[in-house]
């Protein structure tokens, strides 16, 4: 038997399901780096797939979808503070007081389905989109959209990771009498609590160098939020109004143009 035969039979038995737990784990690991094995597995999946037509369809219990959605919520919430999707070593607790960390990976479209989230008076959602900046000079910078309700973006934040300069622009947000807006950053490297980036000026701008103390790797993994505070900013050094933080994550430019 040749090596090719061996590999092909390994792929076939993996798909058929007859390998033991260790062998299965080994094949699952190996296929990630072994294109030949992966291709053989996919070929076997295709060959045997019609057998699956024989399976009787059975409706799951009525609450399973809700369970799945809760699980996805949990994962997306915790993954926001992990530096990388596969890095599970840092399990920072997200439930720090007023600041609720929400998975910003879920884009604008998702928020439209979540009326309940828009009820808190001071709620501002930050949806952060990140676009490839370094390899294409004319690509848009990293962009965050802060939504005050489900309808319109309240603010947009763009960050040029090379120069670490930021630009906050109000979209529908208006200056509030006796209230200030405050921008926050949260990242594993900064500890569990958000840090103030700055209190927005009366024209709702911020100095472009407000993020210059943070390195670009940190910024890429950071979450941002905007909260509504007493004039001059939070007296406690932490958000006192509800702030929802978003996580920067890579996306394609299509998504940016589609959603902005």
């Amino acid at each position: 038997m040749t090596d090719h035969d061996d590999i092909d039979m390994l792929a076939a038995e993996y798909v058929l399901g007859t390998l033991d737990a260790e062998e299965r784990a080994e094949v699952a690991r190996r296929r990630r780096h072994d294109a030949d094995l992966d291709a053989r597995i996919l070929a076997w999946e295709a060959r045997l797939a019609p057998l699956g037509d024989e399976v009787e369809t059975i409706a799951p219990g009525p609450d399973l979808l809700a369970r799945i959605e809760r699980r996805i919520d949990e994962l997306e919430t915790t993954s926001r503070t992990n530096s990388k999707p596969e890095d599970d070593t840092d399990d920072t607790d997200d439930t720090d007081g007023t600041a609720q960390v929400i998975a910003l990976r879920r884009r604008l479209g998702f928020w439209r389905g979540c009326a309940g989230l828009a009820t808190a008076a001071a709620l501002i959602l930050a949806v952060v989109l990140i676009a490839p900046f370094d390899d294409t000079p004319d690509a848009p910078p990293f962009v965050a959209v802060f939504q005050q309700d489900d309808q319109q973006p309240a603010f947009m934040l763009s960050v040029d990771l090379d120069s670490r300069r930021l630009n906050v622009r109000p979209v529908t947000a208006k200056p509030l009498p006796d209230r200030s807006y405050q921008l926050w950053i949260k990242a594993d490297a900064l500890g569990p609590k958000p840090r103030s980036v700055g209190v927005l000026n009366d024209d709702l701008s911020l100095p472009a160098d407000a993020l210059s103390n943070y390195d670009s790797e940190l910024l890429k993994r950071a979450t941002f939020g905007i909260s509504i505070e007493p004039p001059g900013g939070s007296p406690t050094g932490q958000p006192t109004g509800s702030a929802i933080h978003g996580y920067l994550y890579p996306t394609d430019r299509d998504a940016v143009s589609q959603h902005l």
Binding site: A46, L51, G52, E54, L64, L75
Partner: protein, 191 residues
């Protein structure tokens, strides 16, 4: 559930699922709920047949849909139909779970009883009818025991050891038979 739709007019069930998957890749929760509605009975049936316990099937199907949510962007149209891609995730998850914790001894007659002996007319989708016919013709060409082995493994999650016990053969013999059966199938299906 569009899979049972007998009308072949566009959009095909596969297009429908493909659109949903594309939207799920964009983290569209509404599309995800629709995808679940369209596919969960198929995936649940697949997993439950292997695990035979609703509690375990619930847990596995939950993780399967989380995986689909996370990996929708990796779905490659060129390599599989949407339902085949999802069913493969479900089967692997169910078999992994079964290998981690095998269930009580099998009831082989029961397992084979709900395995149709030949191609069922009530197959769900028409798109892969040709492939299905060819596979079933090729399965028919196998010796009966080897055909049963392939079905019991693929559909019911039987391991080599399970098969060895039931067919009263050493595990190595089962492995040899399986390899012969698989090679024969591959040759038979080759264009």
């Amino acid at each position: 559930m569009h899979l049972g739709d007998t009308s072949p007019t566009p959009p095909t069930p596969s297009d429908h699922l493909h659109n949903l998957l594309r939207r799920v890749a964009q983290h569209d929760r509404r599309a995800f709920a629709q995808l679940y509605a369209s596919t969960s009975a198929k995936l649940y049936g697949t997993v439950l047949r292997i695990l035979r316990e609703r509690g375990r099937a619930d847990d596995v199907v939950q993780e399967v849909y989380v995986t689909i949510w996370q990996k929708a962007a990796q779905f490659d149209t060129g390599r599989a139909s949407p339902i085949a891609w999802m069913a493969a995730i479900a089967r692997h998850a169910a078999i992994d779970e079964l290998r981690r914790q095998p269930r009580a001894p099998h009831e082989p007659e029961e397992a084979l009883a709900h395995t149709p002996a030949d191609a069922p007319s009530a197959r769900e989708h028409l798109e892969h009818e040709q492939d299905a016919k060819r596979l079933h013709a090729c399965l028919e060409a196998l010796e009966a025991e080897r055909r049963d082995m392939v079905r019991l493994a693929y559909l019911d999650g039987w391991s080599r050891t399970d098969l060895a016990t039931h067919f009263e053969q050493p595990v190595n013999t089962v492995k040899t038979w399986l390899h012969r059966a698989l090679k024969q199938l591959k040759g038979c299906l080759a264009p």
